[in-house]
């Protein structure tokens, strides 16, 4: 998603190659005054953030649903966008952004990276996105919730808080750790072969 001004996509030097969004939720557009200096306050559906100008020019800003613990006071670093309690860092809606193109477009110039889809666990028919570091997973909330009460509580609360679309949740776990968790959940018989490491072997 790109910053929008008066309904038009804001394009700048590092974003010229980006594709137009598809299925953009017009309600989600956040108007950013030109030439604004940090910090910048967004209202009414977004959290307040403080983002340096180079990042403002390059990144998209999704409508972010409030985490109860998130407050503008929590942002102390210029590039810090979301802060929340464990295990969820923030929740937003899932957009149809083309992550590969974003990576190519802004990676070198801005120094910031947009999460890339996990090669295995970005499941197209999933209904919730989970972001760990620079990796985004797309999974089925029912399957993941069934395996763990903790995940069930986390996902159910975030799903309920999303006004429309699928929620995007930021977890504090590393992508490597979370991929193993999903591997365990989604792969039948994954556990028993790898845990038979006692004297019998």
């Amino acid at each position: 998603m790109w910053l929008q001004r008066n309904g038009e996509e804001e394009r700048n030097g590092v974003a010229e190659a980006a594709e137009e969004r598809e299925g953009e939720d017009s309600d989600a557009a956040t108007e950013i005054p030109a030439g604004v200096e940090t910090p910048v306050a967004f209202t009414p559906t977004t959290i307040n953030i403080a983002v340096p100008s180079p990042i403002l020019q390059a990144i998209e800003i999704s409508p972010v649903f409030h985490d109860a613990e998130t407050s503008p006071d929590a942002f102390t670093d210029d590039d810090q966008i979301t802060v929340a309690s464990s295990p969820v860092s923030s929740i937003s809606t899932v957009s149809d952004l083309t992550t590969t193109e974003f990576d190519e477009d802004i990676g070198e110039d801005s120094g910031e990276q947009i999460p890339t889809r996990h090669e295995t666990f970005y499941l197209e028919d999933g209904n919730v996105e989970i972001v760990c570091g620079q990796t985004v997973f797309r999974v089925h909330s029912s399957i993941v919730s069934y395996s763990s009460p903790i995940l069930r509580d986390t996902l159910s609360s975030s799903t309920l808080s999303a006004p429309k679309g699928s929620p995007r949740i930021i977890f504090k776990d590393s992508a490597e750790d979370f991929a193993v968790l999903l591997k365990m959940i989604y792969t039948p018989g994954y556990i028993s072969p790898i845990l038979n490491v006692g004297p019998a072997n």
Binding site: L123, S148, L151, T187, V197, P199
Partner: protein
């Protein structure tokens, strides 16, 4: 979408560590318990399990083998207390340079590092002392074997016995030795039994306290 094939090999340490972290954090008690049992097989906390184990320490993990410090750090982080003494011992076998590694995930807490260095030094000194004690109290009589060091003369035999005991596996004071290289079958058996009691009583029982923990019961 690719699927992960069924596994028939031991997991890599990184995957194992992720599994332990995630199952702990997100509430999979049964799987965590299974993981703990596998850890216990390779990092035993009982002498009987140690003696019968076929694979010990970081050798239980698939390639690439993890640094012993990384394993110890994981157990510290995940509070696998029962495995801490033996994991610390395995880390200590690498010597001071490996213990003080600054590679990612291998940096030990300072107090843990100091305890291990101090404990391993104490164990090596005790091993040297014990080797001399065993050698000089050895019953030299009655050997009829043709290829036994005990037929080499008293002083020569004492020196070889002391050497083979004190040079045990580069400081691995817990592991049995190759007595057959020096002794006939009968004498090797007698020495093995004597040495086994020594290893159990002097080193295994005291391992936790030597390395900074209270006792096996305490962990």
């Amino acid at each position: 979408m690719t699927r992960f094939p069924a596994r028939k090999q031991l997991p890599e340490f990184s995957e194992f560590a992720s599994l332990l972290r995630m199952t702990t954090k997100y509430g999979f008690p049964d799987i965590r318990e299974a993981i703990a049992e596998d850890i216990k097989a390779a990092y035993p906390n009982k002498w009987g399990d140690f003696e019968t184990a076929t694979v010990l320490g970081e050798d239980v993990f698939g390639s690439p083998k993890p640094h012993p410090n990384a394993v110890l750090n994981l157990f510290l982080e995940q509070r696998m207390k029962f495995a801490l003494p033996f994991a610390a011992y395995r880390a200590g076998l690498g010597g001071p340079s490996a213990l003080a590694s600054e590679e990612p995930d291998t940096v030990l807490p300072r107090l843990t590092l100091a305890s291990i260095i101090h404990g391993m030094g104490g164990m090596r000194r005790a091993m040297t002392y014990t080797a001399q004690a065993v050698a000089y109290t050895w019953d030299m009589g009655g050997c009829s074997g043709g290829m036994c060091v005990l037929n080499d003369g008293l002083m020569e035999a004492l020196k070889k016995i002391s050497d083979v005991l004190s040079d045990s596996s580069e400081g691995d004071v817990l592991s049995p030795l190759r007595y057959e290289d020096l002794f006939c079958v009968d004498c090797a058996k007698r020495l093995r039994n004597s040495h086994r009691d020594c290893r159990k009583r002097l080193f295994w029982t005291r391992l936790p306290s030597l390395l900074g923990w209270e006792s096996w019961e305490g962990v």
